[in-house]
Structure formats: C-alpha cells, structure tokens
C-alpha cells in the first residue's frame, strides 16, 4: 500500500485513543463506568502483560493481541495505541509550529547501546528484583501520571471557574471541586519524565521511544521481522530525502534506501511525503537486499544519555527533598495541640491488593486508581512503602477515607496490582486497624463531647463508652475494623490525630459486625 490513507487512519485512531484515555484520567465527576475504563486500557501493553503474569487473568489478553499485531504490522502500537506516543506526536506538531526545523528530522544513527541497555536493565530488574523500572518507564503509566498530576488540576480549575460563573445564574451543573495536590516530593519524578519526553519530542520526534522506552525497544526487536514493513521501491526513488525529513523516528536512510524497522513506529508519514510513490507498506519479500555501509549523520550529542543522567539526578533530588505531607496546614489551630505522635508502622495499601508486597510488586503507578477515587484518599507515596516504591499509591486518611460501599479502584486497576472484590467482600477486608490515642482525644484533654470518629465508623469498630460524668470516649474493636480511615479523617485534633489507622502489611479478614434488634417500638400513646 502506498496511499496516504494509512496516515489518516493512524491520526484518526490515535485521536480517539488519546481522547478516551485522557477522559478516563481527568473524569472529575466520575461519570465513566468502570467497564469502559477497562476497555480503554485493555490493549495497553505493560499493564496487560503484568496483569496476565501476576494474576493470570484470562481476560487480560490485550498484550498478546499487541504482540500478534506487532509481528504482522510492526510497531503500529506505538503510533496508534500508545498514549505517550500520541502525546509526543502532539508535542512534535507543537514544536513544528514553533520552529519548522523541529519537525524536519532526517536520518540519525540508532541509540543502540542505550536502548538495549535500558531494555536489558528493565527486564533483569523486573524479573529478579521488582517492578521499579516499569513503574518509571511504562508509557501508559507515564501518560497516566502526567494526566493525573498535571492535567486534572487544570480541568478542575476550569470546572470551578465555570461553576462559579454558572452559580451566579443559579445553575449547579458544574460542581465546585477542591483541587487536591499531593506532597511536593511526589511530583519530582513525573515532572522529570514529562520534561524529558516533552523536550525530546518537541524537536526530535520519537527519540524517546527509540532511545529510552523499553516497550518501544522490545516491540522494535519483533518488528524487525514483522510481516508488513515499509520498503523502498529502488527504481522509483529519486533520493529526494523528503521521507527521511518526515520520519519522526529518524529511521529512514534514504541514501542507502534502507529503513531501520526496529525504530519505525508505523506512523506512515513517509508514505504521505513521498512524491515518487517509491515507498510501500507491504508484506516483506524474503529476498535479502544489498546492504551498503551506512552513512549516517552524526549529531554529536547523545540526548538519550544526557537525559538519562538528568533523570537519575532528578530522582535523587526528588527523594531527598520529601516533605511531610501529613499536616493539613489550613486547619484551624485548636485550643490545645495534641501531643502524641501517631506510631505508624505500616502504610495502608488499597483493598484488593491483598498485601503490600503484592501491591508494590505489581503496581506501575499509572495513577488511574488515584484519578477514579471519588474520595481522594489515594495519593502517590514518597517513602511510605520504601524508596523503590515511590509513586505507588497509598491511602492518606488526612486527605480522605475509603468509602464503605466503593470498589472503584479495584475494578479499574490495569495491572492486576488491585484485583476486584465484591462490595460485600471488600466490606470484610481489613486493610488496617484503627488505633486510639487517648492522650490526644478532645474528650480526655478538653473534657467536652466529640465522637466524630465513632459517628463516622461504618462498622462501629470505633464506638463510645462511658468516661467521666456524662462524657463518652472512643474505644476500638479490632476484629470488626476494616481500616477505612473515616475515623482518622473525621478526628478534629491537630497536629496529631487521636485516632489513626495503622496498615496491615498483609490484609486480613474482618468479622462482620453483629447486631441485635432494637427494643424501641412504636409507642401506643405520644410520649410527650
């Protein structure tokens, strides 16, 4: 096929994919049903592969489809389906409109050592140690974080502006929604990676995909032998070089009429650019083409390596300057500050993760759960799980609590780090236990009534028992506590809470609360 229709189809498909995926991450009103969210990331390679390996979920066969697709069509995943790839195309277009030469690419030598080193390191680390490299480099997760961390707040601000304007006219379609920000240290890595991707793609097309992205490199190995490839028709080519200039991957060596198919992302822009119809996307013939020595243009600058260094520096910086996000600084100062610090021995991982080990082994920190959580209780961790698990979400009960009737995060997790539970099962899954600190409690320190914790508790694991005089004071019952954190969220003491949830490294089963029929009946006569 030589037509430019392929590139049009590619553009249409990629616009659809990026709109769909963006919508799932910035859906501030939580309108998209879970099943559509699951369809949206079904074909995302790393999440699907991880879910398949970790959970053996039969439904998670998206990555196999991608493998087959790659064997047949080459790295079309990178152009048609990968949200980060599509995002880079948008950046490249933007770059082109700033300076025309930013979109004039030309052939460049492959970053062979860098890309295979990153792929090898990713594979080795993932198989022998943990998911850490995938968390950093999985394109779907990078895209997700970029949306959740940077785009969603902007959408919220716009929404709030509209809400303000419409509110003046007594219309409440747009609902004011507080913009929730994470702890500053959680932003370093997403900012660094987004900057790396953004700067590279602004003037260098898909350099990131061909120098850094392990998925790109991996699919590139397969696409070397893919059935469909773009090939030169030597007799027609006039060596005008337009294809090479148009190639985002800088993989067309037009002087030698050679295309590096391991780097070709299947955007089909070259087909469109070729006025001699000398390029063809077709099934490969198994004749070995004569290969000349490659004459490539040296740029002299190794952007990939430079940026790899700067990323690692930023990572270091990010980890060094973590701040304690725990305090809500806007809270009014109480009459007396609480004095006993909470002794948290374990963070709280979301229900459906079974254990912290299981969670941190399988989460690529795409932040979809953070985005879909209606209560904003999920936040990216900094050091809570340890340095290697940075950005993987945990529950921060100062920001929110885990709603009793909600299983949204479990239902949408693309990687299998969270596996679905029924609402009934989730209500009996103990992700942590509440711990009461009497010395911080208002009832004890001020001798006034409070009970904010007990009234919020859905199971009455936190309940009030007689204290001094008419006062009642909280007491906790571990076996029916599920660690939802509503008590901690509601507790009004500062800076330390009088009740907090300590995580269960391994989630436990909570007992169902037992209840007895009330003895109050409808009276025969009015009691007043």
């Amino acid at each position: 096929m030589r037509s430019s229709a392929l590139s049009k189809i590619r553009i249409g498909c990629s616009i659809f994919v990026i709109l769909l995926l963006t919508a799932t991450f910035v859906d501030i009103s939580h309108l998209i049903p879970e099943r559509y969210i699951n369809i949206s990331h079904f074909l995302q390679f790393i999440p699907s592969a991880n879910k398949f390996i970790s959970a053996g979920v039969a439904a998670s066969t998206g990555f196999i489809i991608i493998l087959v697709l790659t064997i047949i069509t080459g790295r079309t995943y990178c152009s048609f389906l990968c949200p980060l790839g599509i995002l880079q195309d948008i950046f490249s277009r933007t770059g082109g409109s700033i300076k025309k030469r930013f979109r004039r690419y030309g052939f460049k030598k492959p970053q062979t050592i860098l890309r295979y080193a990153i792929l090898a390191a990713t594979l080795i680390v993932t198989m022998t140690w943990g998911i850490y490299f995938l968390t950093l480099l999985d394109p779907y997760s990078i895209f997700g974080r970029s949306m959740t961390f940077f785009v969603k707040p902007v959408v919220l601000l716009l929404n709030n502006l509209l809400s303000h304007i419409f509110g003046k006219f007594d219309i409440y379609t747009f609902v004011q929604t507080p913009v929730t920000l994470f702890s500053p240290a959680a932003y370093y890595i997403p900012i660094a990676i987004l900057l790396l991707v953004g700067i590279l793609s602004l003037a260098n097309g898909r350099l990131y995909c061909n120098a850094v992205c392990p998925v790109g490199t991996f699919l590139g190995i397969i696409s070397k032998v893919s059935l469909l490839q773009i090939k030169f028709d030597g007799s027609k080519c006039t060596k005008c070089g337009r294809c090479a200039v148009a190639c985002k991957s800088s993989c067309i060596d037009f002087l030698n009429k050679d295309i590096d198919n391991s780097r070709c992302v299947g955007c089909f822009n070259c087909l469109k650019s070729c006025q001699d119809k000398a390029l063809e996307y077709n099934f490969i013939s198994f004749k070995k083409p004569a290969k000349d020595a490659r004459i490539g243009k040296e740029t002299g600058i190794d952007y990939g390596r430079r940026n790899a260094i700067s990323v690692s520096l930023l990572i270091l910086l990010g980890l060094k300057s973590q701040s304690s996000s725990a305090q809500n600084k806007t809270a009014p100062v109480p009459k007396k500050a609480s004095t006993v610090k909470e002794k948290i021995t374990s963070p709280v991982s979301p229900p459906g993760s079974a254990s912290i080990v299981n969670f941190t082994t399988n989460c690529t920190a795409c932040s979809l759960c953070i985005s879909v959580c209606p209560n904003n209780v999920l936040v990216p961790s900094v050091t809570e799980y340890g340095l290697t698990s940075v950005m993987q979400p945990h529950l921060d009960f100062r920001k929110g609590f885990c709603a009793y009737e909600c299983v949204r995060c479990l239902d949408v997790c693309p990687t299998g780090a969270l596996l679905p539970l029924t609402i009934e099962a989730k209500k009996l899954t103990q992700i942590g236990k509440s711990v009461f600190i009497k010395d911080n409690c208002i009832v004890n320190t001020e001798k006034t009534a409070c009970g904010a914790c007990a009234e919020s508790c859905p199971t009455k694991a936190v309940h009030m028992v007689p204290f001094e005089g008419k006062l009642v004071i909280p007491e906790t019952k571990d076996e029916i506590c599920i660690g939802c954190g509503h008590c901690e969220f509601a507790c009004p003491t500062t800076p330390y809470k009088a009740i907090f949830v300590n995580g269960n490294p391994k989630h436990a089963a909570a007992r169902k609360p037992v209840n007895t029929q009330t003895d109050i009946r409808k009276p025969e006569e009015f009691p007043f």
Partner: protein, 307 residues
Amino acid sequence: MRRRDFLKNSAGAGLAAGAALKLGGYDNLWSSSLPSSAPYDLVAIMGGKPDAMFDLGIQELGGMGTYVKKGQKVLVKPNIGWDQTPEYAATTNPALVKRIIEHCFRVGAKEVYVFDHTCDNWVNCYKNSGLEKVSRDAGAKVVPGNSEGYYHEVSVPGAKVLGSMKIHQLLLDTDVFINVPVLKDHDSTSMTCCMKGMMGVVWDRAFWHRNNLHQCIADYTLYSKKPSLHVIDCFNVITKHGPRGVSKEDVANLQTQILTSDWVAGDAAAAKMLKLDPSSIDYLTIAYKLGSGNMNLDTLNIKRIKM
C-alpha cells in the same frame, strides 16, 4: 455583593408577614420565633405514611402558606449525611421531602433548594438516599455543599464559642428555611435532630467537635437566620449505633412526625421518642437557657393526631 444580597434578602424576609426571620434574635423569647398565625406550638402525628402525616400536620398549622409566601425562595434542608439507602433511616425520608417541596410550590414558592453538607461522599449520599431524585422530580434545585467555596463567613452574636462560622450561601440567598431532620440516636450527643442537624449547613464541623460540641450546637441557635419550620421525620428511626447505623436491626418504625417552629421543643419531644430525658442532653438545656426555645413540653400547646 454578598452582603448586599444578604441584607436585601433579610429585609425582604423580615417584612414578609409570618416569616420567622428575626435579626438579632438572640434576645427574643422562644415564643416570638413562632409565626403568629400558627395555632399550635407543636403538632405531632402518628400512624401514617410520612407524606400523609405531613399533609395533616401542615394543615393543622394553617397550611404551608403560614411559612412560605408567593414568590419566595425556600431552602428545604433534609439530612443527607450518609451514603445509605432510605430503609436504613440515616437520611430523611424521601417521600416526606418530596411532599414538603410540593407544598412549597403549591403556595407559590419561586424556587425551592435542597442541600446538605454530607459526611460521606456527597454524590453517593445525594443519590443513594433517594433525595436527589425526589427533590428534582418535585421541581427543586439540588445544590452541592461539598466545597468550601459555597460557604460564607457570618457572625453569631452572643455565642459563647461559635462566634463566627462559614455557612452555605443558600442560607443567605433564600427567604425561608425549612429544616427536615430525621431523628436518630447519636453515639456522642445522645441524639441528633433539629439543632444538631445544623452541622450540615456549616463548613467547618471539626471546629464544633474540637471546641465543646454541645455549646457549639446550642450557640448556632443564636444565628439570626433560623428555620421557620422544623419537620421532624420519626417514621423510621435509628435507635442505636447512630447517626450512621450498622444494619436494619438499629431501625425502629415509629411512624411519627413532629412539626414545630421551636427547635428546642422539637428536639425535646423527639428525645422522648427515643426514650431519652430531654434534660440529660446538654445542648438542649444550653439552648433553652440561651432563650432559643422551650423544652418544657407541658407548657406547650401541642396538637396530637393519630391516623
């Protein structure tokens, strides 16, 4: 703009005959908050469906026209605090709220608004309580209360602790305020009803919890914009594990409703439905001493109806 709106609304409401709005009402006696045309201090109905009981009760009080004048904006404030379905009785009965809104429109209300500052996720509370749907069906505007931006600072003259607070803009923008609490047991304050329900119109509830909860609940009653009418839903009542409830075992079907313009009296009567001694509830006795109402039920003109 806010202040002007507020003054305008307050003035309009103050002029409207029968409206209960009293500026600086803290030095008024309990009886003065009752519309002069209402024949009873308190009407209690037992044995019917919530909407039918309301029809009877409001008729005894001279109809909704006693409280709502043509062209007025009305705020109907149910309890939507928890993400529970109606049968758990953690939220006000939807049929009752619907009927109240219908009565408001029937006497010519220009607009009826419904909102509550929920404890659970507000979207789920509004939806699962059934209150969003019935309110919309009845023609009311359902307004969110989930963000601090909706709340405005006001002062509470004479308050001991709650000197100033942030209240929802609807309280400032509407002419008439109808409070529709559901009676519930409460872990900490013994019960929640008319007065404690006001924690659902303020932004910073934690301040109340931190600074003598009973005093804050009573202090609120000194705020000038008082509800004209309290319709207390005692149809299904959480009698223990309140205010959220654990299971249906906590719920008693008391089939009762109380209508009054005096929230101290309303709370005192409601307490008796839970077999509580009103004088054992601190915020009730404090509010009584502040002059916000009458807790001596014997001295009230009560109409009791059995259906």
